[in-house]
């Protein structure tokens, strides 16, 4: 194998095994170890590994997007569902049910951030941004479409968004820490 082809194979292999999804880390290392043991066919091996890694990433992205979507729906729907459920079933008065809305939103944001970052620890900021802003943006868009838009001052809205993203980030930090510890335990 010429030096140029060898370099190209090395570069392709590095690209293939760089930053794999957490659950595929060991398999990326496995492919790389075999590559290092190869004398012939390094380019073809590295190209195959690149294809396999691209498939993992595509599958990982789809799963992450689905997890984010579920998180946004969870955060957006938990409090209203509990509110109406409690009021309509006669379990709580409207006033009592209204008092549990904010704590429920807080819990939902922290839980959603935690659960998603457990599996995608490196994406905690993106997770917090989407889980924190998503329900509010979707809710505001729906209210605007139906003409029932709330007139919330911009500064107040920014503070609310900041708090929501912050809560999602707190959950994501905890989830990421636990996720890394779990990955380290499996690797051992």
């Amino acid at each position: 194998m010429t030096g140029n082809r060898r370099d190209l194979a090395d570069r392709i292999m590095s690209l293939a095994v760089s930053n794999p999804p957490a659950v595929r880390g060991e398999w990326a290392d496995a492919m790389h170890a075999e590559f290092k043991a190869l004398e012939k066919g390094r380019l073809s091996w590295s190209l195959g590994c690149l294809v396999a890694a691209a498939r993992w990433r595509a599958a990982g992205e789809a799963t992450y997007a689905a997890a984010l979507g579920t998180g946004v729906v969870f955060v957006g729907a938990l409090a209203p569902l509990c509110y109406f459920g409690a009021v309509l079933s006669g379990l709580l008065s409207r006033g009592e049910a209204a008092r549990m809305v904010m704590p429920l939103i807080v819990v939902a944001l922290v839980l959603a951030g935690f659960a998603i970052a457990l599996n995608w620890p490196r994406r905690r900021l993106a997770t917090a941004l989407i889980v924190g802003l998503g329900p509010s943006l979707i809710g505001n868009a729906l209210l605007a479409i139906t003409g029932a838009g709330l007139r919330v001052p911009t500064l107040q809205m920014l503070v609310i968004w900041g708090v929501m993203v912050g809560l999602g980030y707190v959950g994501a930090l905890a989830g990421a820490a636990l996720g890394r510890r779990r990955a380290a335990r499996i690797a051992r």
Binding site: R24, E26, W27, D29, A30, M31, A33, E34, K36, A37, L38, S44, W45, S46, L47, G48, C49, L50, V51, A52, R55
Partner: protein, 98 residues
């Protein structure tokens, strides 16, 4: 009624077949014996490992200075799955006997 096990692809069966009756094999050895490229081999190995049909471990290098390598071995469940796949089905027996 228990769910029927998912059918194994011919490539997956080829991998199990190569691992059958042998000790630990490296990825390169499985690839050479099956003719599978790395892009097909690793997704199959992952699937088989996730289904408990093979087990994997890191083996220390034979020569010093070389990295440890991932090796694979068929499990009891893998042997059963392979035997079941090799067995002619009831349908084909009936057709063959007609």
């Amino acid at each position: 009624m228990p769910a029927a096990p998912r059918k194994l692809s011919p490539q997956s069966l080829a991998v199990l077949d190569v691992l059958h009756g042998r000790e630990w094999l490296y990825g390169l050895e499985v690839a050479a014996a099956t003719g599978l490229k790395s892009g097909s081999l690793y997704p199959i190995l992952i699937r088989l490992a996730e289904r408990g049909l093979l087990e994997s471990r890191w083996l220390e290098p034979e020569r010093p200075g070389r990295p440890a390598r991932h090796a694979y071995r068929i499990t009891g469940a893998g042997r059963s799955a392979l035997a079941a796949a090799r067995r002619p089905s009831a349908t084909s027996l009936a057709l063959g006997g007609a």
